[in-house]
């Protein structure tokens, strides 16, 4: 944090007491501060160490995805969604695929749904692991961070085995997956299911009942359920306040209704509750992966949508029809049905929505991403005012604000 001006002469201890503007210090928290974990700026007015005012500036990595999407065929929009919440790219990819499949009314095989659930829950675990370990790292406990990252690595190994990429995955296709899970992928999923709980229990026992951790997080950065709903909170941050809203249960997509899982909720919506909710969600996700992997149905790993799903390469060389489809898809010459659609999935941070207006042309007429981060980050100012600077750092990391999603 760079101190711009220090005219602080008489430190008043009561944070709510009105102080003369000239006595306040202005602090720039961000845009390149290590604890913002992304490029966003918070201009804090502090009285001593107490935050009196907070003004946020965002948009540092705005890349105009909505504009670019209007000029691209549907399958080329998937890589754009990778770069929204880059901690859980597969969820964004599949959210987009599901939106298009809803528009073209594709009949998706059960196997695809289950495979998607496995990948989505894996990325949810990866997302929550980063967030939770970073909360601890921000208060000086770096051990957990380095520890859980070994397992994030293993999750990325699975993604690599499935699609070849690790972070910005571009996983799957409209209609299914580009290939079936390989035996190595199955082995890695099995190994993860076996090894993960042991590591995770250690991580939990390090922090969950840790006196220092609890003192630093309980009652810090809290928000009431009413305010959270008013601000449009979704995901773990809303559930930490006690509202059991989860898109996977309310509007099941991708066969989530087949699985047995719980929605953990908190009560006070503070940093500790968010941490606990995410931890419980990791366990629920693990349960779901196990169920999906054990009951993986037989069948095809892609739907019969030749207008959107690339044919096998050997067919392209030998069959006329496959060659035509291949050409049409790659050149983006496939017309799509007209329609207006809103599809939401439960992303790592909450309800990730795709509002798509299709006029029947080769690309989307209008595509809007409802990014959960963008909507709940505006509450940051209200949450941190009256608190300490060090608490603002932890509130920031516990909200899990991902700059890519914030700025789209």
């Amino acid at each position: 944090m760079i101190i711009l001006e220090d005219k602080n002469k008489n430190i008043t201890l009561d944070p709510l007491k009105k102080v003369d503007e000239t006595e306040l210090t202005t602090l720039n928290f961000g845009p390149i501060h290590p604890a913002t974990h992304g490029v966003m700026q918070n201009i804090l007015k502090v009285n001593g160490e107490t935050i009196v005012e907070c003004e946020q500036t965002i948009g540092y990595i705005h890349r105009a995805f909505e504009k670019i999407a209007e000029h691209r065929p549907f399958y080329q929009i998937t890589p754009l969604t990778d770069r929204l919440n880059y901690c859980s790219s597969p969820i964004n990819n599949m959210g987009w695929h599901l939106t298009v499949e809803k528009l073209i009314q594709a009949d998706i095989p059960k196997r695809v749904d289950y495979m998607r659930v496995i990948i989505m829950e894996l990325s949810r675990i990866a997302d929550h692991l980063v967030c939770n370990s970073v909360i601890a790292a921000d208060m000086g406990a770096l051990t957990g961070f380095t520890y859980v990252f070994q397992f994030r690595e293993k999750i990325y190994d699975i993604f690599e085995e499935v699609c070849g990429a690790r972070l910005t995955t571009n996983i799957g296709r409209i209609g299914g997956f580009e290939r079936d899970f390989s035996p190595a992928a199955h082995k890695k999923i099995k190994a993860l299911l076996q090894e993960f709980p042991k590591m995770f229990n250690e991580f939990k026992s390090m922090l969950e009942r840790n006196r220092i951790f609890m003192d630093r997080t309980i009652g810090v950065g809290g928000i009431s359920a009413e305010r959270a709903l008013n601000y449009g909170f979704t995901g773990p941050n809303l559930r930490a306040t006690g509202v059991d809203y989860d898109v996977r249960v309310m509007n099941p997509y991708c066969s989530y209704e087949d699985f047995d899982f719980m929605i953990p909720v908190g009560s006070s919506g503070d940093v500790y509750d968010r941490f606990m909710v995410r931890n419980r969600e990791i366990e629920e996700s693990l349960k779901m992966i196990k169920q999906a992997h054990d009951n993986l149905p037989e069948g095809k790993y892609y739907a019969e949508v030749p207008e959107f799903y690339l044919p096998p390469k050997e067919d392209v060389y030998t069959k006329m029809e496959a060659l035509i489809w291949h050409f049409k898809i790659v050149m983006g010459e496939t017309d799509v049905p007209t329609g207006e659609i809103y599809h939401a999935v439960e992303g790592g941070n909450g309800e990730l929505g795709f509002y798509l207006v299709s006029d029947g042309g080769r690309s989307a007429y209008r595509l809007h991403f409802r990014r959960p981060c963008f909507i709940y980050y505006q509450a940051f100012s209200e949450i941190v005012c009256g608190g300490m600077i060090s608490d603002a750092v932890m509130t920031m990391s516990s909200l899990n604000v991902i700059a890519g999603e914030l700025d789209a």
Binding site: K67, G232, N251, I341, I375
Partner: protein, 167 residues
């Protein structure tokens, strides 16, 4: 009794009367076209009505349809009732000459940034907004980039030296 989109539509119809222009029900979401002047009235009614309890504003965004004369712009609200698990899309058409619509910030704090985004990209003026300025684009920008008259940069242009960017 579960609230279905038919019941919801009839309630909206009763409340708005003439101001309900049209409605469609596609892909599982009821969508209503209403007069732009009644947007906040409707949101407030949906929020307060004991049977609907639509107290969550999912999204606000804009859209530009240059071919629709007199209603070139559209403000789109997505509201959600957790209690009844039903969504509603509210669309308010606006003419190019008068892009003013009432702000929802008095009802939903979350509308603040969503409306700033719609202003930033489409130039829609939300009256009553506490801090209506650009949010994602630079403050110096003097146009609204998501409008259809601004194309993406032509990829084949030769008048620009882009050697450093590998083009």
């Amino acid at each position: 009794m579960a609230l279905t989109s038919d019941i919801l539509l009839s309630k909206v119809k009763d409340f708005l009367g003439e101001d309900l222009i049209s409605s469609t029900d596609t892909f599982g979401i009821l969508s209503v076209n209403i007069s732009a002047s009644r947007n906040i009235d409707l949101l407030e009614f949906l929020h307060k009505d004991a049977a609907i309890q639509m107290n969550f504003l999912t999204d606000i965004t804009g859209a530009h349809y240059p071919d629709r004369k007199g209603q070139e712009f559209e403000v789109i609200y997505h509201a959600h009732s957790f209690v009844n698990n039903i969504r509603l899309r509210i669309k308010c058409p606006l003419p190019l000459e008068n892009l003013e619509i009432k702000s929802a910030t008095s009802l939903y704090s979350g509308a603040n940034w969503m409306e700033r985004e719609a202003y930033d990209f489409f130039g829609i003026i939300f009256t009553g907004h506490p801090n209506l300025k650009r949010i994602l684009n630079v403050d110096e920008m003097d146009y609204f980039p998501m409008r259809k008259e601004y194309p993406l940069e032509d990829q084949t242009r030769t008048d620009k030296e882009d050697d450093y960017f590998g083009r």
